[in-house]
């Protein structure tokens, strides 16, 4: 990449172009946009998280076997019709099954070109299925996101790193409303007989840790069908494999104690850059996690 003669001027021009673009103006991307997924344009490479298996689907862990495909939703409601997305009509929808603790995950699978800063920004909202005439604000257990990363095959270190963040909305009927991170996964289990495939449940309900100062009362509109959209920005440095910033709407959170899941590198995942979203329900009701758009950017 050529160095501009006047970096300040180039940055001012880049910023002016971003601000004048109605699609990108509400994002603050780093210099290189890796992907900008506006779900009015389709699925944009987002799919379901399939659990690992070898020779037999029965060996998929039950927590993964329950996963299904994300949908494109117009947020249609039974009582006032189509809600639509932040802009346009469609948002990516991740829906759980109607079973306490059920979870679903949407994922996009990439690799990275350079170990440097990356930033993910997205606009989201969540609601349970509106099958009761009550607010139902404690039916969605959590919504969250994370990366699944591994260093390059020529790097000196050899780690797979999985930063996770979730908004724990409710637990056992209590409206908790706080951000949490996850420093540990479950034990690895070998699948099949070829010694090629293992599995672990990095999204298991155990092991979440409160982010210091991480309580946040998100806007949750006053009947079970109205939604408001929220903004998240999460900064991570692939060079140090550490979180460097996290904000949601008007709140900036301290990530100095944030820890990622850290496990030895696996033999086939070099330079992996996976981004995922997930939802969990706290009741016998489907939880719906909607993402209007995602911007993943990097400094390279």
């Amino acid at each position: 990449m050529q160095t501009p003669e006047n970096p300040g001027q180039a940055e001012a021009l880049r910023r002016a172009i971003l601000l004048a673009d109605p699609k990108l103006s509400r994002f603050d991307p780093l210099p290189r946009i890796i992907c900008f997924d506006d779900f009015d344009q389709g699925f944009c490479g987002w799919t379901q998280l399939m659990g690992n298996y070898e020779n037999d689907l029965d060996c998929v862990l039950p927590s993964y076997a329950q996963h299904t495909q994300p949908m494109l939703s117009a947020l249609s409601t039974w009582d006032f019709g189509g809600h639509g997305a932040f802009d346009g009509t469609y948002a990516l929808k991740i829906a759980t099954k109607p079973k306490v603790g059920s979870r679903n995950v949407g994922i996009k699978r990439l690799t990275f070109r350079k170990r440097g800063p990356i930033r993910v920004e997205f606009y989201f909202t969540f609601k349970p299925e509106a099958n009761e005439l009550r607010l139902s604000e404690t039916d969605v257990r959590s919504i969250g996101f994370g990366y699944d990363l591994q260093v390059g095959d020529g790097d000196g270190d050899a780690w797979r790193i999985m930063p996770h963040l979730r908004f724990l909305n409710a637990e056992n009927g209590e409206h908790v409303q706080k951000w949490q991170y996850k420093p540990k996964t479950t034990e690895f289990k070998s699948l099949g007989t070829e010694n090629k495939t293992v599995t672990h449940d990095h999204l298991a309900p155990e092991g979440w840790v409160d982010l210091p100062g991480g309580h946040q009362r998100l806007c949750y509109n006053e009947i079970p069908t109205k939604v408001n959209w929220h903004y998240v920005c999460f900064d991570f440095d692939l060079a140090t494999m550490k979180a460097t910033g996290f904000r949601c709407n008007d709140r900036v959170f301290d990530v100095s104690t944030f820890e990622s899941i850290r496990i030895p590198a696996m033999r086939n995942l070099w330079c992996m850059l996976n981004l995922f979203f997930f939802a969990e329900t706290d009741t016998e009701k489907r939880a719906f996690f909607y993402i209007d758009s995602v911007c993943l950017s990097g400094e390279f």
């Binding site: 029965d58 495909q69 494109l72 939703s73 117009a74 249609s76 039974w78 829906a95």
Partner: protein, 111 residues
């Protein structure tokens, strides 16, 4: 602009017995769908029946009018073509007494 299309695996390696319905699938962007059911193992007993259902809200369902016999042989595939379905699709399943099917159900939609 190419037409958007999607292949969604909505049921994978689940054993169907008795009467049930698969999870709702929202696809108001699509004009047409084909719903396939694949038998991942040989069915036990007689063939079941799938009924296509549509819904105004993803919660209350009505029969669309299309029904098809489920496969019985391992890797057997049966399907229904559906158009003009609105926003929501699902299958209601009826398996005869004592029958079961290990199913893969996929919905293939196109704008």
């Amino acid at each position: 602009m190419l037409r958007e299309s999607q292949s969604a695996v909505v049921v994978r390696n689940e054993v169907w017995r008795g009467r049930l319905a698969i999870e709702p699938y929202e696809a108001g962007w699509a004009q047409e769908a084909i719903i396939f059911v694949t038998a991942l193992k040989a069915a036990v007993g007689a063939a079941g029946t799938a009924h296509v259902e549509i819904s105004p809200d993803g919660m209350r369902w009505a029969r669309e009018g299309t029904s098809f016999a489920l496969p019985t042989a391992m890797d057997g595939v049966t399907f229904a073509r559906v158009g003009h379905f609105g926003n929501w699709l699902r299958l209601a399943i009826e398996m005869p007494e004592g029958s079961e099917l290990t199913a893969l159900a996929t919905i293939h939609t196109k704008a």
